[in-house]
Symmetry: C2
Subunit: 343 residues, 2 copies
């Protein structure tokens, strides 16, 4: 039983075969391939017929060699690996971006750079031009990769507002602050008066903005913010659990909590369950994301939906525009309150 790499693969047809079949020059075939400008209708038709007949598919390597473009895009995740697999948000984003790119016939290269070592290798790979642009997924602002890529002139769009350098970098984000406001208002409308919050890391836009929304609503209602009602988390389930435990100790009269991510909210539910607090009767819990974690929680989470489909579609749109020469752009998308069993 022999089977090698070239096994059943025939030599694929080239532009030359198409030209011969169509009775035109290779230049004309190429023009048809690249938009059909300066080509007579007759020639165009002959070429298209020849393409169908030969089953021709352009050789991207040859094309890239001359155009200097790779016709592929990188999806770069600079979080530690665990986060990627723990947090369903990344999955949703990855799928959305893959699909949006597929519509343009552009393959997505998945790049995982959790360690400084991996980051270096991948930076080299990217800056060598193996990818036309990068979809950057990383929540922390301390991340140097974003700056490095921008300085290298690599088209780039971040998911979430890059703290401190937004004006020079494209990004797509949900309206974090507004979503937080909706949730806190909802909790208050339930009659809760001791509303706490578990924040995201405060070096991330989600951490900062969702907390800001929380403060705004309380201030607007004339409720003084009690700092004992605020605990910070790290977007992990375990972090949420620990934060809730602290909250319970600092403010035993807590009757609601807005948690800055669904995954942390799962941890919060675990902590409340252990402390024999019923949800939502004793303590109402609101999440953020509407990730799959919201539905797998018990009770199912009332949460703030981030429009992941639109976020990924916009990231791709903005990136392709930038690769095409356009200036960077920021896109802010509205969120939606989703009410389920937890609040």
């Amino acid at each position: 039983m022999t089977m090698n790499a070239t096994g059943g693969r025939r030599r694929p047809p080239t532009i030359h075969d198409v030209a011969r079949e169509a009775g035109v020059s290779r230049g004309t075939v190429s023009r048809v391939l690249n938009g059909g400008h300066y080509v007579s209708p007759a020639a165009e038709e002959a070429v298209n017929a020849a393409i169908r007949k030969t089953g021709y598919v352009v050789n991207r390597h040859a094309r890239s060699l001359i155009t200097g473009r790779s016709d592929s895009v990188g999806f770069l995740l600079t979080e530690p690996q665990e986060r990627f697999f723990e947090d369903p948000n990344f999955n949703v984003l990855l799928r959305g971006c893959t699909q949006a790119l597929a519509a343009h016939d552009i393959p997505l290269l998945l790049m995982l750079a959790g360690t400084p070592d991996e980051r270096r290798r991948i930076m080299r790979y990217i800056t060598a031009g193996h990818v036309d642009g990068v979809l950057l997924v990383s929540s922390h602002s301390g991340d140097p990769v974003a700056d490095e890529l921008r300085d290298a002139g690599v088209p780039l769009v971040a998911c979430g507002k890059p703290i401190g350098r937004a004006s020079k970098m494209s990004y797509v984000a949900a309206d974090d602050r507004d979503g937080a406001r909706d949730m806190v208002r909802h909790l208050l409308s339930l009659g809760r008066r001791r509303v706490g919050t578990v924040t995201g890391p405060l070096d991330t836009p989600g951490g900062v903005e969702r907390l800001a929304g929380y403060r705004e609503v309380l201030a607007g209602e004339g409720i003084e913010v009690d700092e004992r009602l605020i605990a910070s988390g790290d977007y992990s389930r375990a972090g949420g659990e620990a934060a809730a435990t602290r909250l319970l100790a600092q403010a035993p009269d807590l009757d609601a909590v807005f948690v800055a991510s669904d995954l942390m909210a799962q941890g919060v539910l675990t902590a409340l369950h252990r402390a024999d607090r019923r949800v939502p009767q004793d303590i109402a819990v609101g999440g953020f994301d509407d990730s799959p974690a919201a539905l797998s929680a018990r009770p199912e989470l009332t949460t703030v939906r981030q429009p992941w489909d639109r976020i990924s579609a916009e990231m791709v749109r903005v990136l392709l525009a930038q690769i095409g020469g356009e200036d960077p752009a920021a896109v802010i998308l509205p969120t939606e309150l989703v009410i389920r069993g937890s609040a």
Copy 2:
């Protein structure tokens, strides 16, 4: 504020620049790049110094154009999208493969083909040679993609034994049957006598083999298999929940259940909880996979660990060997019983 695609990118150095710097011909530089054969030590050293000095990185498109290889590998998932995001196993596998390939400096192209339409487009892409080989992840044997790829001569390795055509196709799998035997023996060792099972889909190797292991152990113990103790699932959480509900109705005296995946086991726990059966006191529950789902379950799942790291590493190893011209190979890896709270 202007910033375009070519912004900060300089024209990268070519092999020509390196040759000039090193005072040798381009051919010699190329030889150093490709293994250093037929190159004098002096020349090699000069070239390496020149590479460092110029920061040269090979242009893969030019290389691919002549070698006919793309130096990249596809990770093809033919499951419906939802499954990919619901089941943590895929994530673990994806990460493992990405890392194993990264060690060879080979990028992984993520390909999601959940619909017939996407499958067609991706098949075209792959058979056009844009990828040197594919890592195929799909649990169902009805999947035509595997055959199509093999017939097209594309180097291929499947995750899990492809039912009915294993002899002609590379695959890497855990020893499903043996893992199932370990788990059922464990449940019996706990003194349970009415041990049921929730199987995977019976057109998947995991569905068939894990059920076979279950039957074998019972037969070995002289226990007649009661078909009312067997319910089939679809590897989804909801499927596990439904199967457990059926089991409870058919065999109310159930005192243990071996579930063919951790994710389904989560659903089983939900159903048992609803039926007021305590785990593990009333009913012991054993899972399969040792995926992240095992740890997020309450109680944490006793399960059968699939060695995901090794599975992905072996998949990559076998694929690269095959791309290099070797014959297909099958690799079976041992599992390990992991005891936690649920049984």
